[in-house]
Amino acid sequence: MGCLVIAVVACGCQGTAIPPAPGTVKSATATPTVPAAAVSTPPPQGTLPAFRMLDRASGFDFERQDDIRGLHRILEANGGGVGLFDFDRDGWVDVFMTNGCHLPLKDGLDSTRGALFRNRGRDRFENVTDPSGLIQSGYTHGCAVGDYDNDGFDDLYITAYGRNAMWHNNGDGTFEDLTDSTATNVSRWSSSAAFADLNGDGCLDLYVANYLDESDESPRLCANGASPDGYEQCPPAMFEGVDDVLFLSDTTGRFVDATEFSGLTNRRGKGLGVVVSDLDGDGRREIFVANDGQANFLFVPSGELSDVPTIGELKAPVQGYKYDERALLSNCALSEAGYAQANMGIAAGDYDGNGTTDLLITHFYADTTTLYANRGGLMFEDVTRLSRVGPPSRNRLGWGTAFFDADNDGWLDLIVANGHIDDRTWLKQGEPYKMAPQIFRNERDGSYKDVSKWSGEYFQKEWLGRGLAVADLNRDGKLDFVVSHQRGPSAVLVNETDTVNRLLTLKLIGTRSSRNGSGAIVELMGESRVARRELVGGGSFQSASVHEIQLGLGSETNGTVRVRWPSGVSDVFQNLAPGEWNLLEGGRFSDLRRCE
């Protein structure tokens, strides 16, 4: 009997379970978003960005359908993207939003569709999805924009869970699904994609980042009795990654799958973001892929171009590079702490003005956004601490992101769309579901300052941000942006920053290089410094910013720019006045909005 008493004692008296030790919990307490009015901190000196969200009266009215209904499938996490491009060449940048649908696909394929909004100027939009014929159904995520056939009209590639699609812009306001004839279908779970001329033949190639191996008909579900729905989202670590795909253009409007030839197979990444950029300044473009919970990829072309083996007859041989994966050796595979982070969106740009393209990657909750400063020679340095983007990003889960000059001072500011992958507000320790987006001002000393609380109402509210893209939508000389949200209306944010600084917007038109100048590097030759911008492929998360170069002039009244085209041609355009310009390869230029 005495043993019985001791046994009761040994069981801990109250039958309590051992609470999870700290190491078992991958989460952190939510930091509630503080309303601007409650913030007593005085605003920092200097120009503060200011943005206003357009309401439905603007004609932009879009709410994405992700079929979020309690199962917490991992498919529901990624949400959608934004494509910003002037599809009708009227000078105004239009907006395409990807959409999801009911799952499984066999039942819900046609239940919803993406939406194309024609920009009518002055912050007005018109839904022209039906007349454009861009009827994209399915569970789509991202999009890439590029004029793959060099006909002067940007085309659209849409990634999906299921069938990806290549929509050819017919130039008359309509689109045509040419996925099969261009041979660009990918039937994996694709996320982001990027157009770029990788082999220098003057035609855009296409890189498709793929995410996980998952079934929509029998999705993997993770039961959790504590969750109100009985489930929580399974972590990506439970899924196998899948290889990305590289398509090389055959220069006639078709593509060749060069994944294996290029040495990109058997990588099994978990790609969420991709950007193509000449990171080492050797004239060839590297491919950087942000992998979720895995080391990033940095594919570096090696050797000379060689013929890609193809099946069937081609008019001309397709040439491509073999690639070495060098992220680890280049210090951009892992964080400074040696962690493979939940890499998602990518911002690419010369944030510190040293003449190289830097990379910023958004990450998971309770982890930091990571900024890799390009030190030249394909060596990066994790400057998250130095740049001060780390601490403010810890209590956010970031997705779409972009370097952009919000106040036209010539320095790249930073914007990040935030929101959790799953509703975990039921967790005892609390994690917010919706989150406020963030805008960081470039302090011109290699650091950023989070100025979100002074940048408008949109930044004080909480959203489920996903894809994000940047463009000067109303052509007022200030950069605006669009964010795709889950479980709520997506948003167009108009830049109302109070600044006298002017913007130079340049649309590049290649003649020997690809038509939209992909890969060109533009330098603004200022009195005190040279600002460098590159027309990179891809970037952000599942989204495509407008294919234009934007240069804030700061105190300059006009600008002299040098364009280094991918073909090797270099042009100098002197004393360009603020505004929007077409720059033709070979030195000619014209007013971008002449067609209006």
Binding site: A10, G12, C13, G23, T29, L328, L334, G338, P391, Q429
Partner: protein
């Protein structure tokens, strides 16, 4: 118990008789008072009755057992009945303390329970060890971390004596709770010692091994840990160790100004506390404030083998920043020797090797970092239900030279497989 009281009363009764019949002790006044035989007989009867009554009172009076404040008469009566029902005898004080303590736990009167268990001496052969475990649990539930830790440690110490009977479940519980406290307080070095003993006895599960071999791969700055620490602090706001941990949580949580305020104050209170100095340095490192970092770093004591891992790491980071590449290499290697799976050490070594023009060593360090990064992500899948995950982890550990970890997870994989197959576990 009952017999003790009876015996006691009997002794008192006898002693009264002895006093009464001892001529030397008779006083003059008593002799004068007892004048007649009738009066003497009456007095005799009355005193006898009084003595018998007193004896009965002593025998039956339960308040002779003093129990802690908070224990009600109902508690006592219920416990007595319960004990008699179970054991057929009346309870002793320690019996009552134990049983009433359990009743109080059941009623969520934690302080009363803690007080009861506290009164049970550790050397009590029947209850002593268990009482320490129980008391520790009560203090933990009351957020009294120090008291809890002290009791768990004492329990583990008592359990190591061969004449103490403790069950594996009790041992496991004590270790886990102790590890939990040390984890919340970010005392990884102390935790490693506890886990080392458990590993030496093969008294570990997969989670113990993950904590032991990968202290810096598990996410330790969780909100659950922070929340618990704040509860500890609420109970014991001046506790220096807790405040230090609080400062570190603020640092890794990104609230650097608040962290620095807390840590600076602690540092000023005791400039000799190198653990605190390391926490200050960590915050300044995160702020990339190298000027302030130098102020603190220049006053650090010489390296000693037993110093905190964080301090060693900060020395290494400082050396990297000052481009003292050989020093950085040495310090990161020191860090690696105490935490072989430290990603900081490997990444730091890679930087140092790069600057020392040792490309092969750099590549090796980076390659090991890559494997560690994979291990880190996969750790969440390594659990008691997945022998293949332990097996895979074992192979990855072997790949980068973490032999002890490899052996441990190999053992776990086999153990889990055997338990799943129903075969006895070695």
């Amino acid at each position: 118990m009952t017999s003790w009281h009876l015996g006691d009363s009997h002794r008192q009764l006898k002693s009264g008789q002895w006093w009464w019949h001892n001529p030397g002790m008779e006083s003059q006044s008593a002799a004068r008072l007892v004048k007649t035989p009738q009066i003497r007989r009456t007095v005799w009867v009355m005193m006898s009755v009084a003595l018998v009554g007193l004896g009965l009172v002593i025998v039956c009076w339960p308040r002779t057992i003093v129990l802690p404040a908070g224990v009600t008469l109902q508690d006592r009566q219920f416990a007595e009945r319960r004990f008699r029902d179970l054991n057929g005898i009346a309870p002793s004080r320690v019996d009552l303390l134990s049983l009433v303590g359990e009743l109080a736990v059941h009623d969520h009167r934690l302080q009363t329970a803690a007080d009861c268990f506290h009164e049970i001496p550790s050397d009590h052969p029947r209850y002593g060890s268990a009482a320490r475990l129980q008391e520790g649990q009560m203090w933990l539930r009351l957020n009294q971390a120090d008291g809890a830790e002290q009791n768990f440690r004492e329990f583990l110490s008592l359990a190591s004596h061969p004449n103490r009977s403790t069950t594996p479940d009790q041992l496991s519980a004590a270790r886990k709770w102790l590890n939990y406290i040390l984890s919340v307080e970010l005392r990884f070095e102390d935790r490693k010692q506890v886990l080392a003993e458990a590993h030496a006895q093969h008294a570990v599960d997969v989670f113990d091994s993950k904590q032991y071999f990968f202290p810096n791969l598990l996410i330790w700055n969780s909100s659950a840990g922070r929340r618990r620490l704040s509860e500890f602090l609420e109970r014991d706001p001046q506790n220096r160790r807790l405040r230090l941990a609080h400062g570190r949580y603020l640092t890794v949580g990104g609230d650097l100004p608040a962290a620095l305020a807390v840590l600076r104050e602690l540092h000023q209170q005791d400039l000799q506390d190198s653990e605190c100095a390391a926490a200050v340095l960590e915050c300044l490192f995160e702020q990339a404030d190298w000027v302030s970092f130098a102020d603190v770093a220049n006053s650090l004591p010489e390296y000693s083998a037993g110093e905190s891992w964080l301090l060693t790491r900060m020395r290494a980071e400082w050396a990297l920043h000052e481009q003292r590449w050989d020093d950085a290499r040495r310090d990161f290697e020191r860090l690696q020797s105490v935490d072989p799976a430290s990603p900081w050490a490997l990444m730091g070594l890679a930087k140092a090797f790069g600057q020392l023009k040792l490309p092969e060593q750099r590549e090796q360090a980076l390659a090991r970092s890559l494997v560690l990064s994979r291990i880190r992500v996969s750790l969440s899948t390594v659990n008691e239900d997945a022998p293949e995950a332990s097996q895979k982890l074992s192979e990855e550990c072997r790949q980068i030279g973490l032999q002890d970890a490899a052996d441990a997870f190999q053992w776990h994989a086999e153990r889990i497989r055997q338990s799943h197959s129903g075969r006895p576990v070695d």
